[in-house]
Amino acid sequence: MPREISIKQVLIITVISVLIVLILVGLNRPRLTLNVSGEFNYETGVTENGEPYKGSPDAQIAMILYSDFVCIPCGDFADAIEELSKEFIESGKLRIIFRNFAHYSDESPLAAQAAMCALDQGADKFWQYHDLIIENRGIGSRAYSKAQLSAYAVQIGLDTTKFNMCLNSEAKAKKIQEDYDDGKKVGVTGTPNWFINGRKYRGSYSPAKLRRVLNNLLENGK
């Protein structure tokens, strides 16, 4: 083999490769637009059945969303909804009713339970906690350990004594299991699954695709 490669050339190629990788790593960060501040420009509340919602109860479209905090597409979908919140939720056209369907991993039920414990301290707190734990999903191993979930509660100013008691409550854990069973009964097969006017939609939609679906519903009712 002819010897025609210089050390200098190899070094230059190595440096260029490392730089390319550093740029790719820099660009490969999850970017979410979720609202972790807890300041919402739309109504939040709890339905008669104890489910958290956001948006006006008089909204033309009511979306029942089955979600799991560990499921990555669920986070993507929450992000898509947040991106469209000004257009549809703040304007009173859309209401999101949240239901747990904790099935993804062994951390799913505990994350769902923690969110419902936040709900006990107010619907605003639920949505703030919801956004915070989704925003931090996948950051560090065991992102939804009991200790980490309590730390998130401290971060948004929840009463931690109440929160921790709730997080250890067996009754609350049982409720998460019941929510899962109820979801299965109505045909939920995975997450995110969402229902509008009884029609089931599966998977995470991009903001553009979700906008098309919502506009179709507003204009044509289907």
Partner: protein, 144 residues
């Protein structure tokens, strides 16, 4: 077969396998199909994670492109462009080094951030690692 030939054909074979795998994963992603995956590992969680795209471009597409370029330039080596053999070897080294380093980063993300691993991703890491090791040897042999 010359000594360098088997190395060349090893790079070609591994690049072809890597290209085929990336095509399959990209197809599954674009058509929303579930990826065939063992029960003990979670491909879906990894392949649909927030880390599975760079500025909206699926990582699988970049992988496909990497393996395709490696495949083409290695096939060209010693045939069409004999004059540029050293440059092709350097390019193969650079591309495989980039692929290897980025695969290491993705493996770190799988193990420590997502705490889920995907057999396809790990296989790709193994393929690019072997290609990279071969190209190091190749470049070392060609050093002046």
């Amino acid at each position: 077969m010359q000594k360098t030939d088997w190395k060349k054909w090893l790079i070609i074979s591994f690049s072809f396998v890597g290209f085929w795998m990336s095509c399959y994963l990209l197809w599954a992603r674009l058509t929303n199909h579930e990826v065939a995956c063992g029960k003990s590992i979670n491909c879906d969680l990894v392949l649909k994670s927030a880390y599975s795209a760079i500025a909206g471009i699926p990582v699988t597409f970049l992988g496909m492109l990497t393996y395709l370029i490696l495949l083409i330039i290695t096939l060209l080596r010693g045939h069409v462009v004999k004059c540029c053999d050293a440059n092709i070897r350097l390019a193969t080294y650079g591309i495989s080094l980039t692929g290897f380093l980025y695969s290491c980063y993705l493996t770190y993300i799988q193990v420590f951030v997502l705490t889920a691993t995907c057999v396809w991703c790990l296989t790709s890491t193994a393929l690019i690692t072997i290609i990279f090791i071969i190209t190091i040897n190749d470049v070392r042999a060609g050093l002046m």
